[in-house]
């Protein structure tokens, strides 16, 4: 708090930014200390491990920066879109944890459409996949929203069940109608190149290795300003946030709370559906029984660390993406299991949750 007290007492335009940077700085320092301590506990040399993390995320040593940064961006992409989906739902007071199911439904829809590859123009088909995947994701989210407003079913529970239904639908599809031609693995055929997103970095930038950075990443980053504009510069976004903060007041002001909640869940589902299609066309290139490693769940810490704000979520998705790229490198070079970094990540998020809850409980005079 002493840091915050030295800042200007009167809120100037720069005050929120300074405050945010100050807090972010403290969190990063805390995170690094936690990371080093965990490495030390498990007998991994902290300096080597940190180096491996940095090389995997940002480049250096044998890894070219272009390659490392593209890995970071590619890994941040699904987290960014699912994180934004959490932002929209939670700002409306809907505690959805259905990101995984919505994402899988998006990817499933796109894979079904991909069967039309010999009939439809590839560019049109990519467009159709993006649109339909997004719509089906929206539908999957809207079901939970509708159950909440019509039947008072907690969205936490209905989204979990929708996750499993989606998971088993994908599971049935990849051993059934969508299975690859040899009928031996639970996965679909690799999509043809004409349906995939283009790799946008020239290989010469990264010493001849093709990077995985694809045009879908740009699409995902484009979602950040759109979600921001929607939430903070449109009437619907305003209604959404009011419903989240105080549904009674919203109702008194004549806002249709039910409609707003279903709408928020649909938008939230749409973002996850889009994430599924982008992941399919950009990185995974085929649907499989274990398509998602749990992006829909990791999205929750991503959105929380980002302060449930689109811009914050962008930064935190990049941070989580960098950490993932770094820990993959650390696992390959030093045999440091990626789960070790997952512990630190979860512990850090728990600390943030605890600190935030504490600050809400004992507000200081500086709390805005």
């Amino acid at each position: 708090m002493s840091l915050a007290k030295r800042l200007p007492a009167k809120p100037t335009p720069l005050y929120p930014l300074m405050r945010f940077l100050g807090i972010a700085f403290l969190y990063i320092i805390g995170f690094l200390i936690l990371l080093v301590a965990t490495f030390a506990v498990f007998g991994v040399a902290p300096n080597k491990a940190l180096f491996a993390l940095q090389q995997g995320a940002l480049g250096g040593g044998p890894i070219s920066p272009a390659y490392a940064i593209s890995e970071t961006l590619v890994r941040a992409t699904p987290l960014l879109l699912t994180g934004l989906s959490i932002v929209v739902a939670w700002q409306t007071g809907m505690f959805s944890i259905g990101g995984d199911g919505q994402l899988l439904m998006g990817a499933l829809t796109a894979t079904v459409l991909a069967q039309l590859q010999h009939v439809v123009n590839p560019n049109l088909l990519i467009f159709l996949m993006l649109v339909c995947g997004t719509l089906v994701g929206a539908l999957w989210g809207a079901i939970a929203g509708w159950l909440r407003v019509k039947r008072n079913v907690q969205e936490v529970i209905s989204t979990i069940m929708l996750n499993y239904i989606a998971l088993y639908l994908v599971g049935a599809a990849v051993v059934g109608p969508l299975q690859e031609s040899s009928h031996s693995n639970p996965e679909s055929n690799l999509l043809p190149d004409k349906l995939l997103f283009a790799h946008i970095l020239p290989p010469s930038w990264s010493g001849g290795i093709t990077t995985r950075l694809h045009s879908g990443v740009l699409l995902a980053f484009l979602a950040v300003p759109i979600v921001w504009l929607y939430l903070y510069r449109t009437l619907q976004g305003f209604q959404l946030r009011i419903v989240g903060q105080n549904p009674e007041a919203a109702r008194a002001a004549g806002i249709s709370v039910n409609q707003t909640r279903v709408r928020a869940m649909a938008i939230s589902g749409a973002l996850c559906g889009l994430a599924g299609v982008i992941q399919l066309l950009g990185t995974s290139e085929r649907l499989s029984a274990n398509f998602s490693p749990g992006w829909g769940y990791t999205a929750i810490p991503v959105a929380l660390v980002g302060g449930l704000h689109p811009i914050g979520t962008l930064l935190s998705a990049l941070f989580f993406g960098a950490l993932e790229a770094g820990s993959v490198n650390a696992e390959q070079t030093l045999q440091v299991p990626a789960s070790l970094i997952a512990i630190v990540q979860a512990a850090a998020v728990l600390a943030i949750i605890g600190v935030n809850a504490w600050r809400q409980r004992y507000p200081t005079e500086l709390k805005d």
Partner: protein, 314 residues
């Protein structure tokens, strides 16, 4: 062993951990706390139970350690949910991620890296694959029923889940009541976790709970926050989960193909690569049924009114 016996034993093995976990969660949710971190408790206590049995050699002590682990975990959750008033769903989700990371890492550092295998003693088998934990789950159902509906503390607990303000005004400590419910929740999930690693198998595998904690949440809802309902719903989920292993031997597939032939769909289904019935649809069935129950249920059997809402004493 006949097929029917196989399905029955499979159902018991699948139902037991789900039932324990769901019973604990029913009590917690009735007191107004939703613990989404069940998956993490299952995983952590499966690991500690296995580890304790590995070092001590007695699986009963393993179950005890699993139970204690569940309680510790629940108390930690309770600190966030009841003392800090952090959001319960958020905390639960992050606890799951934490448990997945820590059990995976410890398993790797203690065993996989040294090429050691975590094979332990197993609880004695009473009959084929059934251990003492399975029959003990029935008195647990009765106990929860008795506690919730026939004791003063059960009444107080349900009051905290419906009207915490009124309960507080009547002199009940909402926080203490909810803490007791959470401890029970953790203990039950701890037993279920230990069941996975020292009763149903003799080893720990990373991520061995495989979503059972989330299934338990669905069971609590499908069972309408009622221990008897929990028993029925656990059996339904356990039965369908066990069917997937037996689907082929049961002749279900033959029936499926026979029906396809009668309906002249064989060629069509073959073209769709659906010669065999995709058993994943079995697995999705209980979730669809739960959704239908939720959809069809009237508002008289709804969730506890204060579920998931922190109670702040003014």
């Amino acid at each position: 062993m006949s097929i029917v016996a196989g399905v029955l034993l499979g159902t018991l093995a699948e139902t037991t951990p789900l039932l324990y976990t769901a019973l604990g969660e029913t009590v917690a949710q009735r007191s107004g706390v939703i613990n989404v971190g069940l998956e993490g408790i299952l995983l952590t206590s499966a690991f500690t139970a296995s580890l304790a049995t590995y070092h001590i050699g007695n699986p009963y002590i393993g179950v005890g350690i699993g139970l204690l682990t569940g309680i510790v975990f629940a108390l930690l959750f309770g600190f966030f949910a009841l003392v800090l008033h952090a959001d319960q769903v958020v905390t639960g989700v992050v606890f799951n991620l934490f448990a997945l990371g820590i059990t995976g890492t410890l398993y790797r550092f203690l065993f996989a890296l040294h090429d050691k295998s975590l094979i332990t003693a197993q609880l004695p088998l009473l009959h084929h694959t059934v251990t003492i934990l399975t029959p003990l789950s029935l008195p647990a159902v009765v106990f929860v029923w008795w506690w919730l509906y026939s004791t003063r503390s059960g009444l107080e607990l349900r009051a905290c889940g419906e009207q915490p303000l009124a309960a507080d005004a009547a002199g009940i400590s909402v926080r203490k009541t909810r803490a007791v419910a959470l401890i029970f929740d953790g203990a039950m999930a701890g037993i279920a976790g230990a069941f996975l690693s020292v009763a149903d198998s003799n080893t720990f595998v990373p991520n061995m709970s495989a979503g059972k904690g989330f299934i338990a949440l669905a069971i609590v809802t499908a069972g309408r926050w009622n221990p008897i309902g929990c028993l029925v719903a656990s059996l339904l989920f356990g039965f369908t989960n066990s069917l997937q292993f037996q689907a082929q031997t049961l002749g279900f597939d033959t029936l499926y193909r026979h029906m396809a032939a009668t309906l002249h769909l064989t060629v069509f289904l073959h073209r769709l690569n659906l010669d065999h019935f995709p058993y994943q649809l079995f697995l999705a069935l209980p979730y669809v049924v739960t959704m239908l129950i939720l959809f069809g249920s009237s508002r008289s059997t709804r969730a506890p009114a204060a579920l998931g809402r922190p109670y702040r004493k003014e």
